[in-house]
């Protein structure tokens, strides 16, 4: 068995060393192993691809009336049938994917920009700015976000994509700001920040070189979870007729059209509803998977 010369150090060396991997490639490996998250990521890539393809090609025009028999059910030429004006539902579903993805990602870009900046500044410098930010965040948590977004779109004037992204971002930035602030507060007390300060690094270098990279994991998870909530908001607004204006297709407004015709042709409501539901689920699964992958200690 063990020879007499074996010291603890020898035995330690005998264990094959794990190949050096960075946090990110480690997380990537864990994410790929999570089958549900992998399938979701694959599906979402597909939806993104469809959204981009719809820019240049859809099977039929998305706005021309009477391409199909109005209220016509699924057929060979029109796999998802036609809506109440005789527009091809598959084509509009593709355009709706574009609307959803634009709003979802667009909102998160604004939220990331505002939330990270505000959170870093409040968490790092604290003082009066932090007090004000915390107060504003708490006020925003007490108000019904959907109603505020609706009234904002109304006050700005009816919904272009930009208006809607702005309105949703106004009601959604504080989740990100609160997260980044909390992360900053804890990271700024760690030894490596102390060391950086002692070696004379300027605040800008410390914030962007040390604090932000270490907070990236939770930020990515939060951004992923934020996308479906923005998509849901847009769908709600368009469902009420107060979001994206016709003729641009949105899954929300398509579902609203379908609800009105639910007795005669249920296929009109089913297509956008299922698309929306599966997409939201995929984002939620991917978000859960990312959280498990990036922060293995915090298993649910």
């Amino acid at each position: 068995m063990a020879t007499a010369s074996a010291t603890p150090a020898d035995r330690f060396d005998a264990v094959p060393a794990r190949a050096q991997v960075s946090l990110w490639s480690d997380a990537w490996r864990r994410l790929r192993r999570n089958r549900l998250a992998a399938v979701s990521a694959f599906y979402l890539a597909f939806v993104f691809a469809v959204a981009i393809i719809s820019l240049v090609w859809t099977p039929y025009s998305t706005s021309h009336l009477g391409v199909v028999t109005p209220y016509g059910g699924p057929s060979g030429a029109h796999p998802l049938g036609g809506d109440q004006y005789g527009r091809d539902i598959l084509s509009r579903l593709m355009e709706g994917a574009r609307t959803s993805m634009t709003v979802g990602v667009g909102t998160q870009i604004v939220v990331l920009a505002v939330g990270i900046t505000v959170g870093l500044l409040a968490g790092y410098f604290r003082g009066w700015f932090d007090t004000v930010v915390t107060l504003v965040i708490n006020i925003f948590y007490g108000i019904p976000d959907l109603l505020v977004a609706l009234i904002l779109v109304f006050l700005i004037g009816q919904g272009s994509l930009g208006t809607i992204i702005f309105a949703i971002a106004v009601t959604r930035w504080m989740d990100m700001a609160r997260l980044v602030r909390g992360q900053t507060l804890s990271i700024r007390e760690r030894e490596f920040v102390e060391a950086a300060k002692a070696s004379g690094a300027k605040p800008r270098k410390i914030i962007f070189g040390h604090i932000l990279p270490n907070a990236l994991g939770p930020i990515i998870v939060q951004a992923t979870i934020g996308v479906p909530s923005a998509i849901l908001f847009e769908a709600f607004m368009s469902f009420l007729g107060l979001g994206i204006q016709p003729p641009t297709a949105s899954w929300g407004s398509m579902a609203a059209d379908g609800v009105n015709a639910i007795r005669i042709s249920p296929h009109i409501v089913l297509a956008p509803s299922l698309a929306l539901m599966i997409t939201l689920m995929a984002f939620n699964f991917l978000g859960d998977g990312l959280r498990d992958a990036l922060d293995p200690r915090q298993r649910r």
Binding site: I143, L155, L242, G252, V259, I262, P266, V269, S273, M277
Partner: protein, 318 residues
């Protein structure tokens, strides 16, 4: 329960709510009235009739005077008159609609909490069984589903499919007859409204129940020979509800906002339907009135939730 401290706390909160309501309605008022006066009417009127109409609504005054009048009227509980349906007073209208929305909301909240707690407890009791996996998957689907999607599925099933299958003898009638819903009318919209949040409550209950039933006092309760039912219902459930209580606030706000969509699908004459309708018909005065009512409703709902904490968990005091 109502100590002096609690009463003072309620008083302070009510003052705060009043200020919030005033601030919210002022913001919406000023936001709308930066538009020129004639943008406020949908018809194109000319000449004297138009001037008379402007004068009737006080829109011929400078903005500051309009705002003063608005504030003065609001302090007397008067939200003015509808721009579309002339002569209709907004205050009684929105109060009636508020009570309709509250009716649906309370039933939905009841569904959410009761269904959520029951499903969560069952899942925890049968941890890692097929039933647990089934309930967990249903709850993921549940909170990924927008409530209008749930509502459409429910309508397809209960109002259309069930009617076709049974020849119309068991069928949900989609039409909401009176102002208020009867039990037969209200359950479906309330269920659609509450279901996504019920899945959320179920997840929370399951997690905290699993934590609680591993604690010593539960072992003690079992050891002294209590039946499993009493251990769970009387001892474990109470403590496992504490995390559920903490999300009661967001839950209530979610149900209030979700109501806007549900009321429009089921044609319920509540505040949410009026909110969407008034924006679409550009009835600016009603928009201000409805939004003011929402601010008040959310303020009071948050206060009630905070007071409910003290009843459920006596360790919390104000």
């Amino acid at each position: 329960m109502l100590t002096r401290g609690t009463l003072t706390y309620i008083g302070q909160r009510l003052v705060l709510i009043a200020f919030t309501v005033l601030a919210v309605s002022s913001i919406v008022f000023l936001g709308i009235h930066r538009l020129p006066g004639d943008a406020l009417f949908s018809e194109r009127l000319r000449g004297q009739a138009y001037q008379l109409l402007l004068h009737h609504y006080g829109l011929d005054q400078p903005l500051l005077v309009q705002y003063q009048r608005f504030l003065g009227a609001m302090l007397h509980g008067d939200l003015g008159e509808s721009l579309v349906n002339r002569g209709v007073k907004i205050t009684p209208l929105v109060i009636r609609e508020l009570s309709v929305s509250a009716e649906v909301g309370v039933v939905a909240l009841f569904f959410t909490i009761v269904i959520g707690i029951i499903l969560g407890t069952i899942a925890a009791m049968r941890q890692n069984s097929w039933l647990d996996y089934l309930l967990s998957s249903v709850s993921v689907v549940g909170y990924s589903m927008p409530n209008f999607v749930i509502a459409s599925f429910l309508i397809l099933f209960f109002a259309i499919w069930l009617g076709n299958v049974t020849g119309g003898s068991f069928q949900y009638e989609l039409n909401w007859d009176g102002t208020y819903g009867t039990p037969g009318e209200i359950w479906l919209p309330a269920f659609a409204l509450g279901f996504p949040y019920a899945s959320f409550v179920a997840r929370l209950t399951r997690a905290s129940m699993l934590e609680v039933i591993r604690q010593d006092y539960i072992r003690t309760a079992r050891a002294k020979g209590l039946t499993e039912q009493i251990v769970i219902i009387r001892h474990a459930l109470r403590n496992s509800l504490i995390p559920v209580i903490t999300i009661l606030g967001p839950l209530v706000i979610g149900i209030i906002t979700g109501g806007v969509v549900i009321e429009n699908i089921f044609n319920i004459p509540g505040l949410g339907k009026e909110f969407a309708q008034s924006i679409l018909s550009r009835d600016y005065n009603v928009v201000i009135g409805v939004f003011t009512m929402y601010a008040a409703m959310v303020g009071v709902a948050n206060l009630l939730v905070d007071l409910a904490y003290t009843v459920i968990d006596p360790r919390i005091r104000y």
